[in-house]
Amino acid sequence: MKTRLAVDLSGLPPFGFDNRSPIWWGTLGFVAIEGMGFVLAVGLTLYLKHVNPHWPMDAAPPDLLPGTLLTGVLLASLWFNRSADKAARDGDLSGTRLWLVVMTVVGLATIGLRLWEFNALNVRWDQNAYGSCQWLLLGLHATHLITDVGDTAVLTALMFTKHGRGKRYSDVSDNAFYWSFVVAAWIPIYGLVYWVPRW
């Protein structure tokens, strides 16, 4: 088919942040998928709790310390996370590197705390349906911690190489966005795992 030139695109910028960037939307898509997974996991736990009025069935509720500590660390990490995001948006290479390193270390710490949490649940996954739910909830969230910490570590390494420029800054920003989701998803799960059995 014949064509005629009408619009010049050559002046457009090569990358953008937030909803201008396709990757941001891709991340949002996966956040929706995984968010749905969390919603369902919470829903099925409440369903099983409804079927078994004695919740935590015949087990003791989990120890509060590790989970609460983790919640504190996650909330505090939001601040570092924002700093990484902001440095990336300003195109500030040394700031981006610094905050990414901090986020990687904090991330590793959260994984360590998560292992401790499993030990303090006071129930095995095969003991009863309550135990299965507790392990499922913590496990599902743990996969998100691990994925994002892995991703952050790789990005951190990249920012120390010659690849740390241009579009990579918007990747850092998208990674920060995903971490906020991981933290936000934790709050209701924390309540469900630690406080609902004490109700």
């Binding site: 088919m1 990757i23 898509g29």
Partner: protein, 656 residues
């Protein structure tokens, strides 16, 4: 209007231009001053893939990936169809001994599972992957490597299922694998695990495609393609992708829990330890009913495209058609419980779900009226695509009527688990999805291959399918009302079900023959078909502006859209945008609502890593059927593969 014709005409801010200057980007060769032939040559070099086997395996071209999806889905259709023919052979006469009970269980499970998860959903994804970028005027699909990865994951999941069948380890618990039958107590061995893991494979792949399709539609539309100019078929794929995103996590979670129950003794579905079997049904049907619409909604998109092209006028009621899609999607999530009326739910709940089940007939009705109105007073040429659309309308309306019947609780209780239900869902699935699909295949085949399919064979194909289908499945309604249960491997002769079953089996031979003709036609036309022009049906959407088959880069210059049937609006020449790089894979990113040009982005090219990652993932999935530790080392394996995928190979590369 002028705003739409020149959507990117706003002057470029000075600092942007300065930033370009500084980053040395001015060196890139842009398409603006290149003559057409030179432009095509250079784009072909940039967007092509390496030759040879490794190049073939590395392809991330959405048309190649989409085509692979088609071919694979069609092979699974043939396999599942063979399973169906085996069942019809066994059921043709009472007390037949061709197939024993254990094998029969495996065969109907394989048939249902393969049809739903390995044929119907992936074949719709194939259209999405192939056509959506073309229809929105994009150079490629969003996240091309993710799309390639999703294909390999799908392929390996299907292979696992069928290899297990050959090893006598196929699942035998029905396509919805109800607990406790599928649980550790009643299904020892690995059969249910194979089923559960097949689910994980296919859902990973569908979810990945859904994200790619959504982002393609949101961010890669051609300038001027505002929301109300998006082709109806694209709307259908978009809405479907959203249904996928919200429905599929439920079945993934459920199948994971099932495998955990079986492998490490969690107690989710075990009544003795506080679990609940009905929980399985809730989770499964929360996915399972939307699943039907995941298959059906894209089909309505095909119907819209075909009807509009054959009526040679824009769709009557564009807005109601779009709203009907959206309404169907929402309602589809309110329906799951109707599969569970026989479980004794509270009265009020049952009434609610009856009401919403009947309500969903409304948007379908609206769509049907809009299509009829579009055709009203026209004399569409009755070529094969149109024939299949007519067949669809007739069969689908019948399926919908039996659907409204089983939506009422008393009737459902009567025919629950009989052949009435088997008849109903084949009317909906084959009438509602497979007929439009075949029509769509005839319709777009010239675009895919550059050849037309044979009309003569096409007409035979259609009439055999139409008659054969109704023979096979209409009598099943009667058998169901006579009380014949589904999922039985044989029945006694004094039941009186023999003659009708014979009729059904004869019909199924005709139906199978029609599919045979379809395959013959598709293969024969590949070499011998009449050469297709770029727009054989004189249709109005963007894919028809391209040569058949389209080149690797799709559009040499990105078209500018001024109407929802752009080619009908711009008959003389198509306005296009220019200024993209030709020596890098540069694409246009536009804004969500108005599709104003916003960014030029470089996208990743061919890579073997999606395949390697899919292999790693498959090893992890299959191994975790046998050992829980595989989840740990398999996860590490996948992590390593993903690292290879994402780590940039050259300083040029901007990867996903």
């Amino acid at each position: 209007m002028s705003e739409a014709v020149h959507p990117g005409a706003s002057p470029v801010p000075v600092e942007r231009a300065a930033a370009r200057e500084a980053s040395g980007e001015t060196r890139t060769q842009r398409d603006t001053d290149l003559p057409d032939a030179e432009l095509d040559r250079r784009l072909a070099r940039t967007w092509g893939r390496p030759a040879g086997l490794v190049g073939w395996l590395s392809s991330v071209d959405h048309k190649e990936v989409g085509w692979r999806y088609f071919v694979t889905a069609m092979v699974f259709l043939a396999l599942a169809g063979s399973a169906a023919m085996a069942m019809r052979a066994q059921l043709a006469r009472p007390d037949a001994g061709l197939i024993g009970p254990d094998l029969y269980n495996q065969i109907f499970t394989m048939h249902g599972t393969t049809m739903m998860f390995l044929f119907a959903v992936p074949v719709m994804q194939a259209f999405g992957v192939y056509l959506v970028p073309l229809m929105v005027g994009a150079r490629c699909i969003a996240f091309p490597r993710l799309a390639a990865f999703s294909f390999w994951v799908y392929l390996f999941g299907g292979l696992m299922l069928w290899i297990a069948f050959l090893l006598n380890a196929a699942p035998d618990v029905g396509w919805f694998a109800y607990t406790p039958l599928s649980g550790p107590q009643f299904s020892p061995g690995k059969r249910s695990d194979i089923w559960a893991q097949m689910i994980t494979f296919t859902e990973v792949s569908s979810l990945a495609v859904a994200v790619s399709v959504i982002v393609t539609v949101f961010k890669h539309r051609a300038p001027g393609m505002t929301l109300d100019r998006i082709p109806l078929a694209v709307w259908a794929m978009l809405v479907t992708s959203f249904v996928v995103i919200f429905a599929m996590p439920a079945v993934m979670l459920a199948s994971t829990m099932l495998i955990l129950d079986r492998l490490v003794s969690t107690q989710f579905f075990n009544h003795e330890a506080g679990g609940d079997q009905l929980l399985w049904q809730h989770l499964f049907w929360f996915f399972g009913h939307p699943e039907v619409y995941i298959i059906f909604l894209p089909a309505t998109g095909f119907v819209s495209s075909i009807v509009v092209a054959f009526a040679q006028r824009p769709a009557f009621g564009y807005l109601p058609l779009v709203l009907a899609l959206v309404a169907t999607a929402f309602l589809s999530f309110g329906l799951w419980v109707h599969h569970m009326f026989a479980t004794g739910l509270p009265q009020l709940g049952a009434s609610f779900f009856t009401a919403s089940s009947m309500l969903i007939a409304v948007p379908s009705g609206i769509q049907i009226f809009c299509w009829i109105a579009t055709l009203w007073g026209r004399r569409p040429a009755m070529a094969t695509p149109m024939l299949f659309v007519m067949g669809f309308l007739v069969i689908f309306v019948m399926g919908g009527m039996t659907g409204v019947m089983v939506a009422s609780v008393p009737l459902d209780l009567q025919v629950h688990d009989t052949y009435f239900v088997v008849a109903h869902f084949h009317y909906v699935l084959i009438g509602g999805a497979v007929f439009p699909l075949l029509g769509a295949f005839y319709f777009w085949y010239p675009k895919f291959t550059g050849r037309m399919m044979s009309e003569r064979l096409g007409r035979w194909n259609f009439w055999l399918a139409f008659v054969g289908f109704n023979l096979t499945f209409f009598v099943m309604h009667v058998l169901g009302l006579m009380g014949m249960p589904r999922r039985v491997y044989t029945y006694p002769s004094d039941s009186g079900w023999g003659p009708l079953n014979m009729v059904s089996s004869i019909g199924s031979v005709m139906l199978a023959a029609s599919f045979g003709l379809f395959f013959v036609n598709a293969l024969w036309s590949l070499r011998r078909g009449v050469r297709a022009p770029s727009n054989p049906w004189n249709a109005g959407t963007l894919e028809w502006a391209l040569p058949s088959p389209p080149p690797a880069y799709n559009f040499a210059r990105i078209p500018i859209v001024t109407h929802h049937e752009p080619l009908w609006k711009e008959r003389e020449s198509l306005p296009v945008a220019h200024g993209l790089a030709v020596d890098e894979r540069e694409i246009l990113v536009s804004t969500l609502v108005e599709a104003r040009p916003d960014l030029r982005e470089v996208v990743p090219g061919s890579s073997i890593w999606p395949l390697i990652s899919a292999i790693a993932l498959s090893i992890a999935f299959v191994a975790s059927i046998f050992s829980p530790y595989a989840a740990l080392w398999g996860g590490a394996l996948v992590g390593a593969a993903l690292l290879g995928w994402f780590w940039p190979k050259s300083s040029h590369e901007d990867e996903e």
